[in-house]
């Protein structure tokens, strides 16, 4: 029996985030109520430290903890993305935390711990690490979803998310157990080797396990038909946490999805690709069609995020270097534009989540020209209008699908994209063409301004100069191509 290699630097990012969380808990006790803002800045500082660490860590394919954790370029790409999302979410929530009556220290701590869970999901080379990461992030987010004090919707959102999340986690775990039974291991690499060795393409135990795994992950990714919780939870949770769920959790879950389906199960792709094809089609269609009839902007963005998960699934089905890198590129583009849109929803509904009906946005365009223009850019990007990030993302995804011969899937995807233009434009039309129905007074604060500027720059830059991001995305999926 040998003691496995422990390589602490490989989890340096997580260690920094956890120590920041502990510091925040401590300072929460010491700092006076009026100065709680400093906790937010401390959190951002810790996350920036983690971000710098993740960017400068050049160890490449370091394997640590006896092969349980990896730090390859795929992980690094997603670590930077997820920590970046966490920074923006923290900045976004600072103003509403000051104005609301929420417990500031606990909020930041939970965001930090949820981020650690996401990073573990990305780093795990073993199904159990992925499961533990998923649970770490889920448990933190169950609490965060119910964080609006006294708001019945928020408590209800936490309740629904918890019951359905725990239910889905049990399916995921059963899937892992069956895969363990069929292959004798839970290691990503070991599973792939065993399938190749024994030619397990039609082994019922393995296929059942993969199916249950798909149910569990599909729940976290809000794929139709496992999406019923999404609109309710997105509507009830604090808006910044909704953004965190829509972008951060999705990025982490898609990373785990790519790791498992691309890394462990490529040899039985002929079994899961058809299932994913159907899931992608119904996810895109249901998301977009139901979004048309929404009157609440958070619910509309919830359905839009369901539809976007469908587009990303198209990239996974296409596979190959173009498809996988398009998935990563899309996750980045989606992060910028969606965080921007949610940032404006947070800002516009400054106190106690007011102004979340789409009708409340009437007249925003001329009363707050910068805010209106920014919202219009984010919505155009989500709709896929060139030359913005969302357009390039969809372009890469659909060209990958055509290259792999999925013509019908591409046609359905593009038609869906056309449908989505309608509901994104409706908000813009209301912003610019309708008289305001009520007076809303907004004060720009530093954190929210930073959020909007970062999101704007990212959305425009990823559309005009995509090469920088695309090269990194291509670099990080080398291990999948082999």
């Amino acid at each position: 029996m040998t003691i496995p290699d422990v390589n602490w630097t490989s989890i340096g990012t997580e260690l920094i985030l956890i120590s920041t969380a502990v510091l925040v808990i401590f300072f929460d006790l010491v700092v006076k109520d009026k100065k709680k803002d400093s906790l937010g800045y401390l959190t951002v500082l810790g996350m920036l430290g983690a971000l710098v660490f993740a960017m400068t860590d050049k160890e490449g394919t370091a394997i640590a903890f006896g092969g349980m954790i990896t730090n390859d370029s795929f992980t690094q790409f997603l670590t930077v993305l997820i920590v970046g999302v966490a920074i923006i979410v923290t900045l976004m929530s600072m103003q509403s935390l000051r104005e609301g009556s929420m417990d500031v220290g606990g909020y930041h701590t939970l965001v930090l711990l949820a981020t650690v869970g996401m990073l573990l999901m990305v780093k795990g080379l073993d199904l159990i690490i992925i499961f533990l990461g998923l649970e770490t992030l889920s448990i933190a987010i169950y609490v965060l979803a119910g964080y609006r004090k006294g708001a019945e919707q928020s408590a209800e959102a936490a309740f629904k998310y918890f019951l359905l999340g725990a239910f889905a986690a049990a399916f995921l775990l059963y899937g892992i157990a069956l895969i363990y039974g069929a292959t004798g291991t839970t290691r990503i690499e070991g599973i792939a080797q065993y399938i190749a060795l024994k030619n397990l393409g039609t082994n019922p135990l393995l296929l059942l396990g993969v199916g249950l795994l798909l149910v569990g992950l599909g729940f976290k990714l809000a794929l139709v038909p496992f999406h019923s919780w999404t609109p309710d939870v997105y509507e009830g949770a604090p808006t910044a946490i909704t953004a965190f769920m829509a972008v951060g959790v999705k990025a982490a879950a898609f990373a785990a999805f790519v790791r498992i389906f691309g890394g462990a199960l490529p040899l039985i792709a002929f079994q899961w690709k058809d299932v994913l094809w159907m899931l992608a089609v119904i996810t895109m269609t249901v998301g977009n069609v139901v979004a048309l009839s929404q009157t609440n902007i958070k619910r509309m963005l919830a359905y839009s995020s369901i539809a976007h998960a469908g587009y990303i699934l198209v990239g996974i089905i296409a596979g190959g270097s173009v498809g996988w890198s398009a998935v990563l590129y899309y996750l980045g583009a989606y992060a910028f534009m969606n965080l921007g849109a949610f940032g404006i929803v947070v800002f516009y509904g400054y106190k106690q989540e007011a102004n979340v009906e789409i009708a409340d946005y009437a007249g925003l365009g001329f009363r707050y020209p910068f805010l209106g223009a920014a919202m219009a850019i984010f919505l155009f990007s989500l709709a896929g209008i060139p030359p913005l990030a969302g357009f390039m993302g969809k372009f890469y995804i659909f060209s990958a699908a055509i290259k792999s011969g999925y013509i019908w899937l591409t046609i359905i995807g593009v038609m869906n994209s056309l449908v989505s233009v309608f509901y994104y434009f409706r908000v813009t039309v209301i912003m610019y063409m309708k008289e305001p129905i009520k007076e809303v007074v907004l004060n720009y604060s530093l954190p929210i301004t930073i959020v909007l500027i970062i999101a704007l720059v990212g959305t425009i830059q990823m559309g005009i100069a995509p090469n920088f991001y695309l090269e990194r995305a291509l670099d990080s999926i080398k291990w999948l191509i082999g």
Partner: protein, 100 residues
């Protein structure tokens, strides 16, 4: 020695009872107990598979899963208490402020 298929069969039965409970019962606490039952069904199959493969991995996984279940129970019961405080009920049919 009891063959592996017996253990897996029992695990499937327990898991199915858990799923049916979640779908049919309306009391949040009972639903939560059914979810725990599902997790324990999974634990049973992990232990059984680990024994038949004579590998330790499955046994260790069960310890981790029990830890996760405990953490989940702590948070879950707190959430159920908070919904009881705001609504006065834990019947899932009456918790319908947000449309499903």
């Amino acid at each position: 020695m009891i063959p592996l298929s017996h253990f897996l069969g029992l695990s499937v039965i327990l898991f199915t009872i858990g799923v049916l409970g979640v779908v049919i019962r309306r009391n949040a606490i009972v639903i939560f107990m059914c979810i725990e039952l599902m997790l324990n069904a999974v634990n049973l199959s992990f232990v059984a598979i680990a024994r038949s493969l004579s590998s330790l991995d499955g046994q260790v996984i069960v310890l981790l899963v029990m830890t996760v279940a405990a953490a989940e129970a702590a948070v879950g019961l707190a959430i159920i208490i908070s919904i009881f405080r705001t609504k006065g009920t834990i019947n899932v049919d009456e918790i319908n402020l947000l449309k499903w």
